[in-house]
């Protein structure tokens, strides 16, 4: 299993410091949740880790090796996968094809021009396995654009799993998923927990405190606390900056 070390990572959009000197160790095998209010810079942070956004300065080490200069596709090949807060699928592909094309990226050359890919049993079997893990196997032949919101979230997860990651970055996988669906989803994530090193961004506090080994709190681009769920929950600074606010909102 793999570890991720983040050193003094920075990113500004104009005058706005969105990632402000973030350092963080994600230990091998842990599920590290990142919580923070809206606009705290969580998605930006994930995008910097995945390579979708270039960082201004700092360093990111995957198993001790710097990946700062690598493009997003190259980082994926090293085992760093992300899911998106706003679902990114191939709308005219079937669910199975969406996942199979992710499997294909890690198995054999894609510069093969003649043999039909639709009937590639090895690709499809592995794609079905990922769909099964995400709880979407029964929808394999449906066009992705026809999925419900909750199913889209599952597809997003299945695609990330299909890239055979060592480190999984999940950006609000539960966004917009409610009720029983959310419970089932959390149970699914719990099952994945021991198999990957995971960074989980989530607004749902119940889910975070159920799943996370450690939690970091990101506010205005800075990590103000890191610790076990209990430690973070009782941290006065966190309560002031974030949790209190949330409870007030609920009340």
């Amino acid at each position: 299993m793999s570890s991720l070390e983040i050193r003094h990572l920075k990113k500004s959009f104009g005058a706005l410091k969105v990632t402000d000197d973030v350092s963080l160790d994600v230990r091998s095998g842990e599920l590290h949740a990142i919580i923070g209010p809206n606009g705290a810079g969580k998605t930006t942070f994930i995008s910097q880790l995945s390579g979708q956004l270039a960082s201004d300065s700092g360093d990111i080490l995957l198993d001790g090796q710097s990946i700062m200069r690598l493009s997003m596709p190259k980082r994926v090949h090293l085992g760093l996968a992300r899911s998106f807060q706003i679902t990114q699928v191939l709308p005219h592909f079937t669910v199975l094809e969406n996942v199979a094309v992710a499997v294909q990226a890690r198995s054999g050359s894609s510069f093969r021009f003649f043999s039909p890919v639709a009937g590639d049993a090895a690709l499809n079997a592995r794609a079905m396995a990922a769909l099964g893990e995400a709880g979407l196997a029964d929808r394999a032949d449906v066009q992705a654009s026809a999925l419900s919101h909750g199913e889209h979230r599952r597809l997003e997860l299945a695609i990330a799993l299909a890239t055979e990651p060592r480190v999984l970055l999940l950006d609000e996988p539960l966004a917009g998923v409610g009720g029983e669906d959310a419970d089932a989803f959390v149970a699914g994530l719990a099952r994945l927990k021991s198999r990957f090193t995971m960074v989980l961004i989530e607004h749902d506090m119940d889910a975070v405190f159920r799943l996370a080994d450690r939690v970091s709190v990101l506010v205005y681009g800075r990590i103000i606390a890191t610790g076990t769920p209990e430690e973070v929950r009782s941290d006065p600074q966190v309560r002031a900056a974030y949790l209190g606010e949330e409870e007030e909102e609920v009340a």
Binding site: Q52, Q104, S115, A118
Partner: protein, 330 residues
């Protein structure tokens, strides 16, 4: 763990079958054309038919990147030009063999597509369209300045290409069937490419490039490869056009021509391959028919295009599909 409980995915049903069926029908109609023309004693038909087939090859090659890769090349006529001038220039040096001429056309096109594609693909959307147009115009003006081959006025071929040492292509019927055979072979190739690993990645990049990067693909390499393949195929159309007209000129590569190729693809239905073939047929037949009726045929053709785009945005292929589905239901 979950393996045992997973139902196996049913074999995927894609619109592949429809695409092939439509193409087979078109090919059968083409194959029947020369005997009909002979019966009508109108050999002109066969020449027009050859021209249509050549443009069908070019339109289909363009559809490969436009329809499946969302790359709107506005400079594809350049490749028609490379094909036609490969015939003219080699033939002036006594090299008449159609395979050598085609190989030269493909080689030049591959180089041109590789360089201009690599530059063009740094841009997106309307900038991609403009930059491919600019490269196309550069090729156009290069051949205008080629005075040894008539420059602006063009250059008449002393003879058609030879096939395995035989001058059988001098016969209009033989040239027609050779062009048809090439169209069929290239359709098959495109059909396979679209359904391959490569084709799936190309289509995925069209659908959502961010998603594809996030699962480990660099779009550039795939788009560039498709761009080169498409350019090379288009140049083969040029080889047949030169033989059909027995004349080459920069007019084959003007930006109007590039626009006409796009019109054929859109009219036929983008991303269907067989649609592009149908689009070439429809556009050129309309040009012939309307042109015979009125000097202002472009006006009527324009009106037709507007109506098509408004009422059948998926082109002729979309219409055919609708009719077929209705037929199946009733």
């Amino acid at each position: 763990m979950a393996d045992a409980t997973i139902p196996h995915a049913a074999p995927m049903r894609r619109p592949l079958a429809g695409r092939v069926k439509a193409a087979v029908v078109l090919f059968a109609i083409f194959a029947a054309l020369p005997p009909v023309a002979a019966a009508l004693d109108d050999p002109f038909f066969v020449l027009i038919g050859t021209r249509i087939l050549a443009y069908a090859i070019a339109a289909m090659a363009l559809d490969l990147i436009l329809g499946y890769g969302a790359m709107v090349s506005f400079g594809h006529a350049a490749y028609l030009g490379f094909g036609t001038y490969a015939v003219a220039i080699l033939s002036s040096y006594g090299v008449h063999d159609i395979f050598l001429q085609t190989a030269a056309a493909i080689l030049v096109s591959a180089l041109f597509a590789l360089v201009t594609g690599a530059i063009s693909l740094r841009t997106r959307g309307v900038y991609f369209i403009m930059i491919t147009l600019a490269f196309g115009q550069m090729a156009f003006f290069f051949f205008i300045s080629l005075s040894a081959y008539g420059g602006d006025d063009g250059y008449g071929l002393a003879q058609r290409s030879t096939l395995l040492g035989s001058d059988m292509l001098e016969n209009d019927f033989a040239l027609f069937y050779a062009t048809l055979a090439t169209l069929v072979a290239l359709f098959w190739a495109c059909h396979r490419i679209v359904g391959s690993r490569f084709g799936r990645v190309l289509t995925g990049i069209r659908e959502n490039p961010t998603r594809m990067e996030a699962i480990g693909y660099s779009p550039f390499r795939f788009q560039l490869a498709a761009f080169v393949i498409s350019g090379c195929m288009t140049s083969i159309a040029g080889v047949f056009l030169a033989n059909q007209a027995e004349f080459v000129s920069p007019a084959f590569m003007s930006w109007h021509r590039s626009g006409e190729l796009i019109v054929m693809v859109v009219l036929g239905g983008i991303g269907t391959l067989s649609g592009a073939i149908g689009g070439a047929v429809a556009a050129l037949l309309l040009e012939e028919a309307l042109g015979a009726l009125t000097e202002h045929w472009r006006l009527w053709f324009g009106l037709f295009l507007v109506l098509m785009v408004l009422y059948s945005p998926n082109g002729i292929a979309g219409l055919v599909k609708q009719v077929a589905n209705r037929g199946r239901k009733s």
